[in-house]
Amino acid sequence: MADIKIVLVEDDEILSKVIKEELEEADFKVYLATDGEKGLELAQEKKPDLVLLDLMLPKMHGFEVLENLKKSPETEDTPVIILTMLGSDDDIKKGLKLGASDYIVKSQHAVGEIIDEVKKFFANESHPEQNKIKEKK
């Protein structure tokens, strides 16, 4: 699976490190950005298969990154999964409306579960209708 590229945009050093390590262990190619601007740049540059996007980011908010990605024809097809801290309906709704494929609430999952979600996403990628709100556990 090393040919699957994931751009991870996460400002928290420890969380990003853990997720990155776990994803790499799961054989994904991971590019890490620690603020919104870099995240957008990386996503445009690397043309990843998935962007994992935190919302509360320095320099550029996650929604802005998402909007920019969806605006450009080059990146509009790049799937984005939002990583959020709290189960905020408004944020989730807004994210999905802006074109996110899914969302994951970080604090409600063990990191292993997040990796499972990503794997599940790629397993279902051939079925775009799966892109709907995930049940929170």
């Binding site: 709290l86 604090s107 292993g112 929170k136």
Partner: protein
């Protein structure tokens, strides 16, 4: 109309009608009779005179016949014949050559004679010539002829001899006249009013025509009754007239009398009749007047007497002596006035008695009034005292730092203190005496629906009611102010609710503080979660990669992971409480297969139950139960109750979870029964309150927050359900949660964590 008039008028009217009818009938009868008698008279006149003329003509015929019997008539003989008759003017013989051959008059011999003229009338071989004027002596004449041998004997007669017959006007008055006309209608006797009329005046009156028509149509007139009529005669005057034909000569005799003269007597008759009527009427009037007076006099006396009595003189006696009905009436009337006077005296007596009684009663009333006034004075004093008390209460109420208003049982505002004025913006004058519902609008902050429940319930339940959180009051200037506090019923000594006192305060500052708190909790929990998540994930990875570590160290790592998870749960709870209390919870119903949902959760708890060797059974009647509710909410409820049951049930205990479908009420019952430590009875009433835990629970689990059941209860409420429990300390607890299968959506916040 007076009685007299009423009697006189009809009688006179009837008299006038009867008399007039009778008089005019007799008048017309008389006129008719007169007409008839005049007609008869005229008939008789013409008839007798025609007879006279007939006789004269007959005699002439006789005389000529005798003369014709003489042979060899000479001139002398002819003269002798002429002289023997006074009316003969000339006697002569005419031969067939129409020449006079012999005559009583020498000069006539040899003259021509128009014999044809004689062929007009004929009787007994005697021919008669109609009236004509003799050429010889120019006198009106007739002539008669008879054959004598081969000649014709003619006698000419002076017609003036008949004038005596016609000019005799006996019985014909001044205007009456009799005259003869020949067959052509010309007069042959003199007329009274015009001279020289012989054969010159043609009469064309009605009678003349009738008479001539009769002559033409009938040949024999042995008897003719004649006829009288009224018509216009030759003088163009209306006349009454009669005629009679003289058939021998084809003449007519006419008698006429002017109508004005003929009917003169009727004029007098009319005059007399009218005078007679007037005299009779006058007498009648006098008589009826006298009768009417006789009848009306006692009535007038009665009427006058009545007027006198009416004016109050009851001693007046009408008393007429007449013996008729009116007299009897007047005497009855007098008796009546006596009776009235008697009863009036009685009434006067009664009135006096009653007046005395009324005066006595009035005195009583005055006494009572005085007593009442005394009482009133006492009351006034009491009132003053009360007012002083009231002023004190008012002073206290107005000095209270919170807004206070009091409504009476009709919901009218009776007290409104200064702070209430300040908060609401209304003045006392705006609100006092008015229904509070019309002035003070309390609304829910969220949906802006009226929120008067806390006042209405104070009335209906008679207990102190707290104002709901997040209540706004609409101020006079239509701006809104958050308010808080309570209302309490006011009861009289008998316990009846007579009003309500409402205390409220401006909660703006409180709301701000609440908002700050809520924001703080939200931010804090977010900020707390990131490092907590970091700890959890790192320890997870540590456990994953450090299988070589000794068991003791591995256990430490597990402890770190568990502690961070607990902390995470605690943060979640805080956040939930903050949202619930801030009213910022979203209820988003979605389809959930409840049985699967519970089973899946219970499976997750397997490690915990196995660790304590607890038997956990799930009994469900329905195999499937689809509900429409908020997923986070139902998860919170199930999770909280199941984890509590596991937590507080000792090792080897039993837990039974069950679901019952209530189709009728469209709800379901979630029941969880454990054999745990139970809830001590003294904690049972407050177990759903925040920060409250069973005393025994604190010994089992020291780190409980006291949020669990509070959040559960709030969640059940938000989903429209009910929660209760049965518990015996040291034996166990059963929770009963009844929830609707379909929950109402609620917007405007965030879902449960």
């Amino acid at each position: 109309m007076k009685i007299k008039t009423k009697i006189i008028l009809p009688i006179i009217l009837v008299a006038v009608i009867v008399l007039s009818t009778a008089t005019f009938y007799s008048y017309f009868f008389n006129v008719n009779t007169l007409n008839t008698s005049i007609g008869e008279h005229l008939n008789t006149t013409v008839s007798s005179r025609s007879h006279h003329i007939d006789t004269f003509i007959e005699e002439l015929i006789g005389k000529i016949k005798i003369a014709a019997t003489q042979e060899n008539l000479t001139n002398e003989k002819l003269e002798k014949i002429k002289n023997s008759n006074r009316e003969f003017s000339e006697v002569f013989l005419v031969n067939l050559d129409k020449k006079i051959i012999k005559s009583s008059r020498q000069e006539s011999i040899g003259l021509d004679c128009s014999i044809n003229d004689y062929l007009v009338n004929k009787k007994d071989n005697v021919y008669m010539r109609d009236a004509y004027i003799s050429k010889i002596n120019e006198e009106p004449s007739i002539a008669i002829a008879i054959s004598h041998n081969k000649d014709i004997l003619i006698i000419r007669i002076n017609l003036e001899i008949l004038n005596d017959v016609t000019t005799n006007k006996t019985g014909l008055g001044n205007t009456g006249e009799v005259y003869l006309i020949n067959s052509a209608g010309y007069t042959i006797t003199p007329l009274q009013f015009s001279e020289d009329t012989f054969l010159k005046t043609k009469i064309e009156s009605k009678n003349a025509k009738s008479c001539l028509d009769t002559l033409k149509n009938e040949t024999e007139h042995t008897e003719y009754r004649g006829g009288s009529a009224i018509y216009t005669n030759y003088k163009k005057i209306e006349v009454m007239g009669s005629y009679h034909p003289l058939s021998i000569m084809n003449w007519c005799i006419l008698a006429e009398i002017d109508k004005s003269e003929a009917l003169a007597p009727t004029k007098n008759l009319l005059k007399f009749s009218i005078i007679r009527i007037l005299i009779i009427l006058f007498i009648f009037f006098i008589l009826t007047y006298l009768i009417a007076r006789t009848i009306s006099k006692p009535i007038i006396i009665l009427s006058q007497g009545t007027k006198i009595i009416k004016n109050g003189n009851l001693d007046h006696k009408v008393g007429t002596n007449s013996k008729d009905e009116i007299g009897s009436l007047s005497r009855d009337f007098d008796e009546m006035t006596v009776a009235i006077k008697k009863s009036q005296i009685e009434i006067d007596k009664k009135v006096k008695e009653q007046t005395r009684e009324i005066i006595e009663k009035q005195k009583d009333i005055e006494n009572q009034q005085e007593a009442i006034l005394n009482v009133l004075e006492d009351v006034e004093n009491e009132k003053k005292k009360t007012e002083i008390e009231r002023d004190k209460i008012d002073a206290i109420l107005h000095s209270i730092g919170d807004g206070v208003f009091v409504v009476d049982k009709d919901k009218k505002i009776t007290i409104f203190n200064n702070i209430a004025e300040q908060i609401s913006g209304f003045n006392k004058e705006d609100v006092l005496g008015k229904n509070y519902l019309d002035i003070l609008k309390f609304i829910h902050e969220k949906d802006r629906t009226p929120n008067n429940d806390f006042i209405e319930k104070a009335f209906s339940l008679g207990k102190i009611q707290m104002m709901k959180n997040h209540t706004l009051l609409i101020k006079k200037d239509k701006s809104e102010v958050p308010v808080a506090d309570s209302s309490a019923p006011i009861k009289d000594s008998a316990g009846n609710i007579i009003g309500c006192i409402v205390v409220f305060r401006d909660a703006t500052a409180e709301r701000k503080a609440e908002q700050i708190k809520s924001d703080f909790v939200s931010i804090a929990s977010h900020q707390l979660r990131t490092p907590l998540t970091g700890i959890q994930w790192v320890t997870e990875r540590l456990l994953k990669h450090s299988t070589a570590l000794p068991e003791k160290e591995q256990q430490y790592i597990k402890d770190i992971n568990l502690s961070s998870k607990r902390l995470s749960t605690l943060v979640d709870s805080l956040l939930n409480v903050s949202r619930i209390e801030g009213g910022k919870i979203t209820i988003k119903p979605e389809k959930i297969e409840l049985i699967d949902f519970i089973k899946s959760y219970l499976t997750e708890t397997n490690p915990l139950t196995e660790a304590k060797n607890i038997s956990l059974k799930f009994n469900t009647h329905p195999e499937n139960l689809e509900i429409l509710t908020d997923r986070s909410g139902i998860r919170n409820i199930v999770q909280s109750l199941v984890s509590n049951a596991i937590e507080y049930t000792p090792e080897n205990g039993n837990i039974e979870v069950s679901v019952e479908d209530n189709v009728e009420k469209d709800s379901f019952l979630f029941k969880i029964k454990d054999t745990g430590i139970g809830i001590p009875s003294k904690n049972q009433a407050t177990i759903f309150d925040k920060f409250t835990r069973g005393e025994n629970a604190q010994q089992v689990k020291t780190d409980g927050t006291g949020f669990g059941l509070y959040i559960t209860k709030q969640t059940v409420d938000l989903l429209g359900g009910k929660i209760r429990f049965e518990s015996i300390e040291n034996e166990g607890t059963t929770f009963f949660v009844t929830l609707p299968k379909i929950s109402k959506a609620k917007e405007g916040g965030k879902s449960f964590v």
